[in-house]
């Protein structure tokens, strides 16, 4: 442990301390202790941390390797679906066993299965448990699948795309197509994942049913903090390594790296897959806090938002990505929550839910025009200038 800390640089240590302190304060303020912030808000914060992790993942491929993936929410939501399957299955099983407990005869396993099938798939007119749910009873297999399935998808997609030397805008469009296709597929009732209903009730953690949400939300906040910190450390390690310099070289001049004898496609693939796995893990921690995951989460626009956050925060800097995702997504949920009264200017009524998108778009344009390095480089410049004085 000490050894690990020694190898970390100052920035990383600050980052870790900041988020640990943050979660500590939130824990103190939560319903568990002082009760000054609601359980719901704790969940919003926990979710925000996972959006930050997704932003780090995107920054790794886009900011460092120059691959603008506009399909990262596919991996994010897949992570959610994969943990969601276990959550929903186990939770339903618990309820059904409880219900059967009132009867005299204990239920047979096949009776339980049947009941689970009807419970979960009744909404899409089915009662059979689809074969993709075969491992839903096993947490460890599903934890593995959270890494494996999105990683495999990224590997296959990346291999096809990079091998044919698809780059730039064309690649971005392909990633959009990927997430759209996946979302349309999941939308079908016979996809085995409950069509447009998605998976719900994910906030109820099997085995923890006696715990109130106020405790569960804090547990997830800490799990999210840990995941974000680990993600940051891993991403820092990658970007600081020789491989990190290489992928930045690929971003700046792919051919130069290629003619130095490096296999550019392998490097891109590696970064893309790592990043997809990071996004998937973020999603797997996000959706239990959100409670529901459905195909609209994979809509192309979701991934575009992620890219907007990263570029407002500052791509090519891990902290920039985190700042962008944290601020913009928090402000975003604030404006679109409907809590702020509409602004009546006489000739026009500004309803924030609608106008927020316009504000976001404008700030995106302003940031790209005036500080192409994002908020983080604006901060850095101010900091530097105040030092020079």
């Amino acid at each position: 442990m000490l050894k690990l800390i020694k190898t970390m640089d100052f920035k990383t240590i600050c980052f870790c301390l900041f988020f640990i302190l943050f979660s500590l304060i939130i824990t103190l303020l939560s319903d568990l202790i002082f009760g000054s912030i609601s359980t719901n808000f704790v969940k919003v914060l926990g979710k925000t941390l996972m959006l930050c992790l997704a932003a780090i993942a995107l920054d790794l491929v886009w900011g460092y390797c120059g691959i603008l993936s506009l399909g990262h929410f596919a991996f994010f939501a897949l992570g959610g679906y994969l943990i969601g399957m276990w959550l929903m299955y186990e939770r339903t099983k618990e309820i059904i066993i409880q219900a059967f407990a009132e009867q005299l005869l204990p239920p047979t396993p096949s009776e339980i299965k049947e009941a689970i099938g009807i419970q979960i798939f009744g909404v899409v007119g089915g009662s059979e448990i689809p074969s993709i749910w075969i491992f839903a009873d096993y947490l460890f297999i599903h934890l593995f699948l959270i890494i494996f399935i999105p990683g495999l998808l990224a590997l296959i997609f990346g291999w096809l795309a990079f091998r044919s030397r698809v780059t730039g805008v064309y690649l971005s469009i392909l990633t959009q197509a990927m997430t759209l296709a996946l979302s349309l597929y999941l939308l079908q009732n016979d996809s085995g994942l409950r069509g447009n209903n998605g998976l719900s009730g994910l906030q109820n953690i099997p085995g923890f049913t006696s715990f109130p949400q106020s405790i569960i939300s804090i547990l997830f906040l800490w799990a999210s903090t840990l995941a974000l910190i680990l993600g940051f450390i891993i991403a820092t390690f990658i970007t600081k390594s020789k491989l990190g310099k290489l992928i930045q070289g690929i971003r700046d001049d792919e051919d130069r790296i290629r003619f130095l004898g490096y296999n550019v496609e392998t490097y891109k693939l590696f970064v893309f897959v790592i990043s997809a796995i990071m996004a998937a893990i973020a999603g797997a921690l996000y959706y239990p806090q959100a409670g529901i995951v459905n195909p609209s989460e994979l809509a192309p626009i979701a991934s575009i938002y992620l890219a907007v956050w990263v570029s407002i925060g500052g791509r090519g800097k891990l902290i920039g990505a985190v700042i962008g995702a944290a601020f913009v997504s928090l402000i975003s949920s604030f404006f679109t929550s409907g809590q702020i009264p509409d602004l009546n200017l006489g000739f026009i009524i500004i309803s924030w839910v609608d106008w927020w998108l316009i504000i976001l778009g404008l700030s995106f344009v302003i940031v790209t025009l005036f500080t192409p390095g994002g908020l983080i480089s604006a901060f850095e410049n101010i900091y530097k200038r105040s030092f020079e004085r």
Binding site: S241, Q248, G249, D253, F259, L260, Y267
Partner: protein, 246 residues
């Protein structure tokens, strides 16, 4: 002298236009060779073909003692076999420092697991310093490459190739954008390099070629027009016609 590279009857056409037409030539071990020819003669395309960027329609390219065919190999594989290339437009990693540019080029691990955990050795740092001295950038190792002058970028790219330590160096128009004294330095450097490896230089500039003082291959419309020392080829009637006749 055994050949390090042998180009045998290659042709390539782009949309029906024959950029390279049945071209053959060979480069010896530790030979310095200049390739000249008017704009559009196919000099850059030739380099693209040797380095695997463009695949020829027909013909073969043989490499090294074992006469390996380069035709089916990828750019990466060809580079790993020992072909280094300087592009016509100076191509360096603009957002990284001079030192980082050189470090990345060093001949060491090329696999991604190795590069993830790679630690540079003391010797490698020394080597980078030596190379930097050779290309006269050792005082500005920490400067971002994008801020260098055109000529300095050209030198940095040559330095990257030195760090890469290839057995054949292909250099496309190295003197472009350089002052006269820089040109002289470049010519000296290239001559020095050819003592330990083969070097092929593509240039327009006759004075520069003269300074190299080596065998010259004249390219025209994708094939070899003449070959020999500079005085010999500049007396060649076909060459005079191509360069001066029109």
């Amino acid at each position: 002298m055994s050949d390090i590279l042998e180009v045998r009857g290659i042709s390539v056409s782009f949309d029906g236009f024959k950029a390279i037409n049945n071209l053959s030539f060979s480069i010896g071990q530790n030979e310095l060779r200049a390739i000249i020819g008017p704009n559009g003669a196919g000099k850059t395309t030739l380099m693209d073909i040797i380095t695997g960027k463009t695949k020829p329609d027909i013909g073969d390219i043989r490499w090294g003692k074992n006469n390996i065919s380069l035709i089916k190999k990828s750019e990466t594989q060809i580079a790993q076999l020992g072909v280094g290339r300087k592009f016509q437009k100076p191509t360096v990693l603009e957002y990284q420092t001079v030192e980082e540019n050189l470090m990345i080029s060093l001949k060491n691990s090329r696999g991604f697991i190795q590069t993830l955990i790679y630690k540079y050795t003391e010797e490698e740092f020394t080597r980078v310093n030596e190379v930097a001295k050779l290309i006269k950038l050792n005082k500005i190792l920490n400067k971002i490459a994008g801020e260098l002058s055109h000529g300095q970028k050209q030198w940095l790219e040559i330095g990257m190739l030195l760090a890469q330590d290839p057995s054949l160096l292909l250099v496309d128009e190295p003197a472009a954008g350089m002052t006269n004294s820089e040109r002289t330095n470049t010519a000296t450097l290239l001559k020095e390099l050819s003592k330990t490896r083969s070097v092929v230089v593509v240039e327009h500039d006759m004075d520069f070629i003269r300074q190299l003082n080596c065998k010259v291959t004249v390219l025209h419309e994708g094939s070899v027009l003449a070959e020999g020392n500079l005085d010999h080829v500049s007396k060649d009637n076909k060459v005079i016609e191509v360069y001066l006749g029109r």
